[in-house]
Amino acid sequence: MLKETHQISFAEAINETTEQLMSYDESIICYGLGVNDPGRIFNTTKNLVETFGDQRVFDMPTAENGMLGIGIGAAIAGLKPIIIFQRVDFFLLAMDQLVNNAAKWRFMFGGQSNVPITIRLIIGRGWGQGPTHSQSLQAWFAHIPGLKVVMPSTTEELKQLLTASVLDPNPVIILEHRWLYQQKGNVPIQIDNRWLLSEQSNISTGDELTVVSSSYLTTEAKIALKFLQEHHGISIEHITLSVLAPLNTSRIIESVEKTGRLLLLESAHETCSISSSISHQVVASSFDKLKLAPVVMAKPDWPEPTTYSGTKYYYISAYDIAQKICEMLAITLDIEALQKQGHHDVPGDWFTGPF
């Protein structure tokens, strides 16, 4: 069935999807700090309270652990809460309720209650977000059985992923990168309640190497890969990993069995990361097919410094990716055109601070 689409931004897609979901299923509620304020969580909750009322859409006290637990209770009672935290970092206060209750409730009561909550977490980056506004903790969540972890890469895939997350009977954490919010994409106009959490999707197919990315790193990877393809004819298979947990690496393994080379782009620190796990699984299953060891590019092992100079080489850029690919293919190419112009600490020229 062909879907009609329209061009909207990632933030608009979140907003539209939420509105359609709440119309479709009146058990869905939506809350979080700032949900109804003038900012409307970067416009992702626009019009919701006007349409669905303040019983279903509401602001909350600054009390992350309590408010997550309350959402879990509401979910046990049959509601489907969407709970929003403006930074992953703030959500650290809620780990007890997340792990000890949300992840285990169904299990520890023998399957008698489900916890259909969706937790929207925003990952900050740049403009001095610094050590307490830029963490990316998907590895923590993926380590805990009972949780599903989703990291959309593109506006195109957002609508399906968010819909499937909200309608999923399990607790789902969806990590949204602040730098994706303005990206435009072709989005199906209507939601489809049969959509599944599709684990991976191919951005491009190729023979020489497999690249796996999630979230904003997909943007950087696309730039690098397009450049290598167009200017140097290098054919690379690019897979976005959208569902990090439960982790299914079959598509990645299939790809690596063809290309023999794997580059994993990791938006968190390397130790105990999802990329390390993928690397391990791929080696375990395809040791003999690999031409070289899988490579992980990750954030260095320190927090994001606030200073402008400290983020210049902190995040992986299209240039870095192209350089690493050349290294893995043992070739030398002119990739200077990939050097980023302008400020490295903003998603685009339109961004002038402060948040």
Partner: protein, 328 residues
């Protein structure tokens, strides 16, 4: 809404006594059997603390829900939780109320509104508030009772969840069973000396009551007032009831020899055994006679025996159960 108060009739008294007896006798049977090493899980008995949930439950209906803590046996049984499923759960059997996955500290019986107890101190407080939020949004009848201990009061999540329940005017009743100890630690090192828990709760915005949990008629009155307050949609409420755990924090034995609790304190609370006192009152006033009492006890005894027999005979969960339970 109408005044929903239930009077403390003789009939209600007998029912409270029956509930207390059931809890006591079940718990004593567990204590007795525990040494056989077939109930292989940490187990926190409610002996001595039977009165509060037995009284409150007399005021609750099937619309009302309950969540509880590591020390949940009394709350579960008082709310009408299935005895066979409970004993099977302690034995880790597939027929257990949590399919054997939870054990003593993770009980559930949704059929009677017992929505879950968990072992993280304070962990179910926001769960209960969330259940109440759902009631409000879905416009469902009933209230949610959140049982906690005096220790749980110290967790920030209590404060956070209580605050929200006031902000949204939710139908929730916090019941703090103050037995003065958190494991072996007395209140002294945990809370300010002269601070009253129910006053603290009141200052958060909860309508609050305090009483001796072993005083049946007074406790019934408090509970009745609190339930009515909530049912009239006047906001969330809080009851602090003084009570006492007779045995060790976790496990089947007495631990008085450890001397972390003054001998006089123990003796004082045992002298106020709510079961003995209510039994005497009902016998003295000839509401029941010894034969009625014996019938009640014999019936409980029979049920307990059957529950243990069934539990021991029941199969363990299938080996693929845990995997299948992890995700829906």
């Amino acid at each position: 809404m109408m005044n929903t108060k239930t009077p403390l009739t003789d009939k209600v008294k007998v029912s409270i006594l029956s509930t207390m007896l059931k809890i006591r006798m079940v718990e004593e049977a567990i204590a007795e059997q525990y040494k056989n090493q077939k109930m292989r899980c940490p187990t926190h008995l409610s002996i001595g603390q039977e009165a509060p949930p037995s009284i409150l439950s007399a005021l609750l209906t099937h619309d009302d829900q309950v969540v509880s803590t590591h020390r949940a046996h009394a709350h579960y049984l008082a709310k009408g939780g299935n005895l066979n499923a409970f004993i099977a759960e302690l034995h880790g059997k597939a027929s257990g109320c949590s399919g054997g996955m939870g054990g003593s500290m993770h009980l559930i019986d949704k059929a009677v509104g017992f929505m879950g107890s968990t072992a993280i101190v304070g962990g179910t407080i926001p769960i209960g508030v969330g259940l109440a939020l759902a009631k409000q949004i879905k416009q469902e009848r009933g209230l949610v009772v959140i049982y906690i201990g005096d220790g749980a009061i110290e967790e920030g999540v209590f404060y956070e969840a209580a605050n929200f329940s006031v902000v949204r005017n939710l139908p929730v009743l916090f019941v703090c069973e103050n037995n003065r100890y958190s494991v072996y630690s007395s209140l002294d090192c945990r809370q300010p000396q002269d601070r009253k828990i129910y006053e603290l709760a009141a200052s958060i915005g909860l309508q609050s009551w305090h009483g001796d949990g072993n005083d049946i008629s007074n406790t019934f009155q408090l509970c009745s007032d609190a339930v009515e307050h909530i049912k009239l949609n006047n906001g969330p409420a809080f009851i602090e009831l003084d009570t006492y755990r007779w045995r060790e924090h976790c496990g089947p034995n007495y631990d008085d020899h450890l001397e972390y609790r003054p001998a006089e304190e123990i003796a004082y609370w045992k002298s106020k055994d709510p079961i003995k006192l209510l039994t005497k009152q009902l016998l003295d006033s000839q509401v029941i006679d010894v034969s009625v009492l014996n019938t009640i006890k014999n019936n409980i005894n029979k049920d307990v025996l059957i529950a243990f027999e069934k539990a021991e005979l029941a199969p363990f969960p299938a080996s693929n159960t845990p995997e299948n339970l992890t995700y829906a």
